[in-house]
Amino acid sequence: MKLWPPIAATVFALCVWQAVVTLTGVQKFILPSPTLVAETWWLNRWLIAEHTLITLNEILIGLVIGISLGVVTALTLASSKTARTLLAPMLVFTQALPVFALAPILTLWLGYGIWSKAAMAVLITYFPVTSAFFDGLMRTPSGYLDLAKTMQASPRRVLWYIRVPAALPNLGAGVRLAAVYAPIGAVIGEWVGSSKGLGYLMLLANGRAKTDLMFAAMLTLGVLSVLLYVLMAKLTRRLGDRET
């Protein structure tokens, strides 16, 4: 991918933003200019860095646990019909519940620390990973399965040597989605109750009409999410042509 088009687009968007602020003379606690946000970001860089680390930590814990649980669930569902009939409806039902509504309960159960936020990230990443990977596992091209049958393969080996590798691109897609959702989960967790993290910082800044700091924290979160996505995309691109 060429780098300059997105950079050019970003620069253009920043220019429009700056122009709007300058031309309309809107108050800075309503909409701060990008230059002011940049300045605030620089002045508060250590503060922001400290909160970013906390949030990043929550996100990574959430991702690791969420992806692992998702992979295990998908494998279980794919290899057992009983598990499918018992668990699949429940899984879909839990997805119909708004995850956000669970945030206060998680805080109640797991406390104000990073665990309630990591748990939010787990909840929000678990389903996309499970569903993408499971889908891939159930859509193995039937020709491969026929071939395996004529070779007297055991179901376990078919799963490991054919269905899993054939589903890895789907798992990759699920993991990339998870990378986008996890930061949202962590920040929701922080909004409900915390004393640290980018979500906390955003609420704090907002409450004191420090809109420039709010924007600085929000943009940091955005950049963090994009970096995480790019990293996951890089890691999962290999999944497609993995050797077994």
């Binding site: 020709g143 007297q152 042509d241 077994t244």
Partner: protein
């Protein structure tokens, strides 16, 4: 490999109550090539899949018996029309897939020999996407042979190839599959004329046997009796499918 048995499929098949093929008897002679021709949709693939005990859309009413009275399905190697190479595995691993799926140790010597015979030595470490159509077919053939089964079912195995490569693949297969009971489904009368010890044309009404040339298999593409047989088959196919 154990001694190749003869096989007889006897019965009829229907799909959702509609008859697919009338009662027929298809006998494969032990250690010989049988070629099955027929119009699209008459049920040739269905016959193959029934023999391999794979799911088909049809209800089969009948039986499939081997001359030695032992079960057929586990002694079959099946090569579908699609080469079904695993895109993530190398040529070598694709060829040795069967052993891996059964948790057996792969027979390295045999792999070497097949790589040699199929002219795949230079490509052993490549992924299927790096191969030409003919090379992919050779890998699929090598994988089928690696199974070392006495009964081989080939569903339009060489249909995706150009004439020259196809002829070369037919020679190779005929050579490597000597003494096995082989059933080849094909759309190509020329292929049947070259390879068949027995040739059948399938229609909804049943099977028509066509006498193959007397010469030994694989017959030269340009031998007069091969050409005559090819034209006879072609005429029969045109009559039956219109």
């Amino acid at each position: 490999m154990t001694q190749a048995p003869g096989i007889t499929l006897k019965g009829q098949a229907s799909i959702e109550g509609r008859q697919l093929f009338a009662p027929l008897t298809l006998s494969l002679d032990a250690g010989r090539w049988t070629c099955l021709l027929g119009g699209s949709g008459v049920g040739k693939t269905t016959v193959l899949r029934l023999m391999a005990d794979l799911p088909t859309g049809a209800d089969f009413d009948g039986e499939i018996l081997a001359t030695d009275k032992t079960p057929v399905a586990e002694r079959i190697a099946y090569m579908a029309q699609d080469d079904l190479l695993l895109p993530w595995a190398t040529v070598e691993k694709n060829i040795a897939l069967g052993a891996r799926l059964r948790g057996q140790k792969m027979d390295a010597v045999r792999v070497e020999r097949l790589l040699d015979r199929c002219g795949l030595h230079a490509h052993r470490g490549k992924k299927p996407s790096e191969l030409s159509g003919g090379q992919r077919q050779r890998v699929a053939l090598a994988r089928t042979l690696m199974e070392d089964k006495p009964i081989i079912l080939l569903d339009e195995p060489f249909s995706a190839l150009d004439e020259k490569t196809r002829a070369a693949m037919q020679d190779l297969a005929a050579d490597l599959l000597t003494n096995r009971t082989v059933l080849v489904v094909t759309h190509d009368p020329g292929e049947a004329a070259r390879l068949g010890h027995a040739i059948y044309v399938m229609t909804a009404a049943g099977l028509t046997s066509v006498a193959p040339p007397a010469s030994s298999v694989p017959r030269p593409v340009d031998a007069p009796d091969t050409i005559t047989c090819r034209s006879d088959l072609l005429r029969l196919l045109m009559e039956t499918t219109t």
